[in-house]
């Protein structure tokens, strides 16, 4: 599609952004086409052209990040990097983690390994939401029923 001059359509398509390269299609393809490789290439072009991912990607709280690098190690998409930057109210030229929102697929592995709770998915599935839903059930409804 990109070659055929349909760039905008390819870059806007959800397939470009939602493919997580799990490669389940690759083993099923009779022509052995590496589909996710093609989609990843289109995605790179889209990022270069300035498009943004529609996913609710991870976000770093730079005020508490200690730059331990655990999230960098575990990220399956190599979307997290350590960078030096100025953090307001904390200091200048500090090393903190930064998420490349073009590559992040919002799986949440980084936030589960983070020991200082400094990296979280935007809006959906934050630590607070999961823990609140757990504890409201355990202390509320279920306590009455099983008592």
């Amino acid at each position: 599609m990109v070659m055929m001059g349909m760039r905008e359509k390819a870059f806007d398509s959800p397939t470009t952004w939602l493919c997580s390269s799990c490669d389940l299609c690759y083993s099923a393809c009779p022509m052995e086409i590496h589909i996710s490789g093609v989609i990843t290439a289109v995605k790179e072009l889209a990022i270069e052209a300035g498009y943004l991912s529609p996913l609710k990607t991870a976000q770093v709280n730079t005020k508490t990040c200690v730059a331990c690098g655990l999230c960098v190690e575990v990220c399956p998409y190599e979307a997290v990097h350590l960078v030096e930057k100025d953090v307001p109210n904390r200091g200048k030229n500090l090393t903190v983690a930064e998420v490349d929102s073009g590559h992040c697929m919002a799986c949440g592995l980084c936030s589960s390994v983070c020991r200082s709770n400094s990296i979280e998915l935007k809006e959906d599935y934050t630590d607070e939401m999961v823990v609140d839903s757990l504890s409201s059930w355990l202390t509320g409804e279920s306590a009455k029923e099983t008592a």
């Binding site: 997580s20 390269s21 799990c22 389940l24 575990v74 399956p76 998409y77 697929m105 919002a106 799986c107 949440g108 592995l109 936030s111 589960s112 390994v113 709770n117 998915l121 959906d124 599935y125 630590d127 607070e128 999961v130 823990v131 839903s133 757990l134 504890s135 059930w137 355990l138 202390t139 279920s142 306590a143 029923e145 099983t146 008592a147």
Partner: protein, 146 residues
Amino acid sequence: MKGKPRIILFQCQYCLASSTDQDWVEHDLPKNIKLVKVPCSGRISPLFIMNAFQKGADGVMVSGCMPEKCHFINSNLGARRQLDEFRKFLIFLGLEPKRFKFLWMNIDERGVIQKEIAAFTAELKKLRPNKKFNSLKGEIIGQNYG
């Protein structure tokens, strides 16, 4: 144990390929089980499980995808690394490691989750109810992130 054990079921949103299984988990779960959906089993921090036990859950079950079938390349392996270590840690809390179960669902199989939940419930019934952290109730330690 008298009565039904209270179980928290963490489910990765891609691990149940058949829609009948997914419907059953979403709508027809027994009332003693709470479903918590997460994007990937890698999202499950040991702290969530710790928190569930602190609030009085009798068992925690995690269902994720098989290795190499993960929607997010290898996030489920990250989950296994963390949670298997955490299971060993449960002994130091004075809890039986049996109370925590990590399941790998195969996308080819159907109806496995129902059987596994029934087996897990039966196993938990043999144990005593989890009242380890009852004395902490209402204190700051049980309030948020444990």
